[in-house]
């Protein structure tokens, strides 16, 4: 057991800690690599624009987090605790933002609310470019991340608690406050920490739609891509790690209070039809889903239109990728291969790792450290992660430098990039499985790996499938880190889309984006089919 934990520690050290160290250490160096103490920090903090960026970042992150959390919680509640119609449909639609490369929503928001936008008047004279656009974009982008955690948290509950509450004549509001909320407290806190960190460090949305409303992530871009100043980039990169550290502290405190919901004697909760409630939640869910579909629909329109906004006749020519550049469909298949590898390998490592962190005995400090490490990737902007990988894996004296420039480095990097949410999903699912299973197994002298394979994996299979789909779709859309690591043979579709847009061919870029969406959506459909079969086989115990 301890051996496995150490192995996981080694993996995270090589793919996360050491690369980040090679870059972040530059924050204490000057351009020639000499140690200069905190001189870079002093210079950075002397810049009045920096404090503004910091305040701006906190401002949009806080507002974005509150809105996203509220919407995602209601939506997750509607999916798991009501009998409203069309739950399968709503569940699928909620994933749209994950399937779409950030280029698409950025563009769609401009087409919807920009100065030529169809719904510009809805902003009452305000501009989409700036905090309003950032918050809208971030809510769109962060929504499914919050949802995946909250759905996991809400989908398991002990029905006996609700029966007891009802027989004590507790009113629904009271039941909600005293049973439902405490039950998903851990999920709520992790979801809010995840979204806050995500928005705090995201660079794609502010770059596209932030105007010159500076946030820390765009500062990193300015320093690194605009001025090749890796040292100052590292300074800002370190600041961006702050929320991850805070998250970790909060997470520790919460974990102590969380009790396993699914004790070995639990009876799963089965939502009962409540016509009025179901209808209210249906309307709420429909409003959210409608917005998501509107954004996607606008992006689809953008990929079909001849010349926005001056020639709105439709054409399919932007989907002829051979015309748009030298690469044709090659990058598409590279993307597919990378996403499949990330999903297969990443799920095994992350779920296995989460199991070790959550269920093994002893080695408390090591497990705590591993959990902290798992929280870090979320807070690392792609630029920082990508450059770190160059500095670490391309170093001439690194024995691993043979993987640089190959598909392997893209896969390892992408697994690292999306580690945190997958890890938290796995932990949330695992927390709901009573530790008694392990105790009973131990007293029956059943080895731990068999309990893992025969009990834990089947019980958590829906979460495992969710994680693999999450990794797949993110690998299809990711740009910010891999843009520094791909080579001529491993060029990805998502990068091609960005470059096409840079070259001024926005509609063709949209078409590439829509192809990614369609692929991921097809995979998601397949996932739902498998899930249904799996649930019939392994999740029968959730029903009575």
């Amino acid at each position: 057991m301890r051996c496995c934990l150490l192995l996981l520690g080694l993996y995270l050290t090589v793919t996360l800690v050491l690369p980040l160290y090679t870059l972040l250490a530059k924050s204490l160096q000057n351009k020639d690599g000499h140690f200069v103490g905190f001189a870079n920090f002093a210079r950075y903090f002397a810049d009045p624009a920096m404090l503004q960026s910091f305040a701006n970042t906190v401002h949009v992150s806080a507002i974005g987090t509150i809105i996203t959390l509220l919407l995602a919680f209601l939506y997750a509640y509607a999916l798991t605790r009501t009998c409203m119609a069309g739950r399968g449909f709503f569940r699928a639609v909620a994933l749209i933002p994950l399937l779409a490369p950030s280029l698409l929503p950025g563009l769609a928001l401009v087409y919807l609310f920009g100065n030529q936008g169809i719904f510009k008047s809805l902003l009452f004279g305000h501009e989409i470019y700036g905090p309003i656009g950032i918050v809208m974009g971030e809510v769109f982008f962060a929504f499914p991340h919050a949802l995946i955690i909250l759905v996991t948290a809400l989908s398991v509950a002990d029905g006996r608690l609700y029966e007891a509450a009802e027989s004590l004549r507790a009113r629904p509001a009271r039941i909600f406050l005293t049973v439902t909320l405490p039950g998903c407290r851990y999920g709520l806190v992790s979801a809010s920490l995840v979204i806050f960190t995500l928005i705090f460090t995201d660079f794609g949305v502010p770059k596209v739609i932030g105007g010159s409303y500076n946030v820390l992530a765009t500062d990193v871009y300015r320093q690194v891509i605009g001025q090749f100043n890796f040292q100052m980039g590292a300074v800002v990169g370190l600041l961006l790690l702050l929320p991850a550290v805070l998250s970790f502290a909060a997470d520790r405190i919460m974990q102590r209070k969380q009790v396993a919901l699914l004790s070995a004697r639990a009876v799963p909760l089965q939502p009962k039809p409540r016509p009025l409630t179901d209808r209210v939640f249906f309307c709420l869910a429909a409003a959210v889903a409608g917005f998501l579909l509107l954004v996607l629909g606008m992006a689809l329109f953008g990929s079909l239109v001849k010349l926005w906004p001056y020639n709105l006749s439709l054409t399919l020519k932007w989907y002829d990728f051979a015309r748009a550049g030298t690469d044709g469909w090659g990058p598409y298949f590279n993307s597919l291969r990378m996403a499949a590898l990330v999903a297969a390998i990443g799920t095994a490592i992350i779920f296995g790792g989460a199991y070790l962190v959550e269920k093994s005995r002893g080695a408390g400090r090591l497990r705590a450290i591993l959990h902290l490490l798992a929280m870090i990737p979320l807070a690392v902007p792609g630029i920082v992660l990508g450059l770190s990988y160059i500095f670490f894996f391309n170093a001439p004296d690194n024995p691993l430098n043979f993987i640089y420039g190959t598909m392997t480095v893209l896969v390892v990097n992408t697994i690292c990039h999306f580690y945190t949410v997958s890890h938290l999903t796995a932990i949330t699912a695992l927390k709901q499985v009573d530790a008694e299973f392990e105790s009973v197994a131990a007293s029956l002298k059943v080895p731990l790996y068999r309990t893992f394979w025969r009990v834990t994996v089947p019980v958590c299979l829906p979460a495992i499938l969710d994680i693999s789909v999450y990794l797949f779709v993110n690998a299809m859309t990711t740009v910010s880190a891999v843009v520094f690591l791909y080579s001529a043979e491993t060029k990805l579709m998502s990068i091609n889309a960005i470059n096409t847009d840079d070259a001024g061919n926005t509609a063709a870029a949209c078409a590439m984006g829509m192809t990614i969406v369609a692929t991921s959506a097809a995979l998601k459909g397949l996932h739902s089919l498998i899930l249904r079969r799996v649930e019939r086989r392994t999740q029968a115990w959730r029903k009575r």
Binding site: Y221, G226, Q227, P396
Partner: protein, 353 residues
């Protein structure tokens, strides 16, 4: 609680996952021919790549180009980050200002390509007889102007930099942030050279009142103008010409006072294992044939002996308006100070209102 997955079923699933992974990994590794493969890093436009590659390979059988293309900022950052273990053999088509940064890091090999005497002085690294980089073609700042939106707003067409400070343009102009974009910096550095330091900064202060936002890319202001988001964008000619060719109601204006410019350049990476092949590419990049190819996208070329024609819809007189001399080295030395000053004065304009 029985009826778990059967053991066989689980084992099969595990096998399936492993099998998929194995197949996916095995399908890697393309076969290598005997030809020399040159790793060429570039920021050229995507559509130019197949044309340039074909022309070079036809003239130099046995050498194959493998492109690594990205935007100027990304590819430069990547080259710098790879400094200790360089992957590129040669850079073909990257801003000279980026080349100077690489040169300062000692990453470029000195080489004087064939036909070097036919390269115009402005396009040469003249500090010593053995240049580390050689220019290919030039691109200069320009104003993109959306005629349809301007008419709706009743805006006159600007013809000079000074025109842009006219209060009628309040909040109608977008330009690149010089801290994020090379185009932004070359424009600012041209103002400082044209109007002098004091005049340059006071010009920017006046312009600042009319600027709606500073964007993080050099071509984005023009593209936003093409999409009708703003009537006026400070950018460079290439994206504007492309928009016109696509049918957007855009005009590309070269301001009468003079325009800042940068060039695309070629440089061999020091330490390349393919030095001979890289030198052949450097020779080709400086040749008359290559310059004719550059002429499809740019008006101002490096060679004296190639008569440049005006690409379709390209604004006239770019060559006459480009400031000369353009003090690249002085501006490169002052870059940090200029950007700090700019950031202090204009960087945090858009606080929440």
């Amino acid at each position: 609680m029985n009826n778990w997955i059967s053991r066989r079923h689980t084992a099969l699933m595990g096998l399936a996952v492993l099998g998929t992974a194995a197949i996916l990994f095995a399908s890697a590794a393309p076969t290598l021919a005997d030809d020399v493969v040159l790793k060429v890093y570039t920021a050229l436009e995507e559509e130019q790549l197949p044309i340039y590659k074909e022309a070079f390979e036809k003239a130099n059988p046995g050498i194959n180009i493998e492109w690594q293309r990205d935007s100027t900022g990304v590819i430069s950052a990547r080259l710098l980050a790879e400094k200790d273990n360089r992957q590129a053999d040669i850079v073909w088509g990257l801003a000279a200002t980026s080349m100077m940064v690489l040169d300062k890091e000692g990453m470029l090999e000195s080489y004087r390509p064939a036909g070097f005497d036919q390269i115009k002085d402005d396009f040469k690294d003249l500090r010593s007889g053995w240049p580390t980089w050689v220019g290919m073609d030039a691109w200069a700042s320009a104003i993109c102007f959306n005629t349809v939106e301007a008419e709706k707003l009743g805006l006159p067409k600007p013809t000079s930099w000074k025109d842009l400070t006219n209060p009628v343009y309040k909040d109608q102009i977008v330009m690149p942030n010089p801290g994020s974009s090379g185009t932004g910096f070359l424009t600012v550095s041209a103002w400082l050279q044209l109007f002098g330091d004091k005049g340059g900064w006071s010009y920017m202060t006046a312009l600042h009142d009319n600027v709606k936002t500073y964007l993080h890319s050099g071509s984005k202001p023009c593209k936003a103008v093409g999409a009708g988001e703003y009537p006026i964008g400070i950018s460079f000619a290439y994206p504007g010409v492309k928009l016109i060719n696509d049918g957007a109601p855009v005009e590309v204006i070269l301001p009468t006072e003079g325009i800042g410019w940068d060039m695309e350049a070629t440089a061999i990476m020091k330490g390349t294992k393919q030095l001979t092949a890289a030198q052949k590419l450097a020779d080709f990049a400086a040749s008359a044939d290559a310059n004719k190819l550059y002429n499809a996208s740019y008006q101002v070329l490096a060679r004296k002996d190639v008569a440049a024609t005006l690409p379709a819809n390209y604004p006239a007189d770019e060559d006459k308006l480009m400031i000369s001399p353009n003090n690249f080295y002085e501006m490169a030395d002052r870059r940090q100070a200029i950007l700090d000053e700019w950031q202090r004065s204009f960087g945090s304009k858009d606080a929440p209102k």
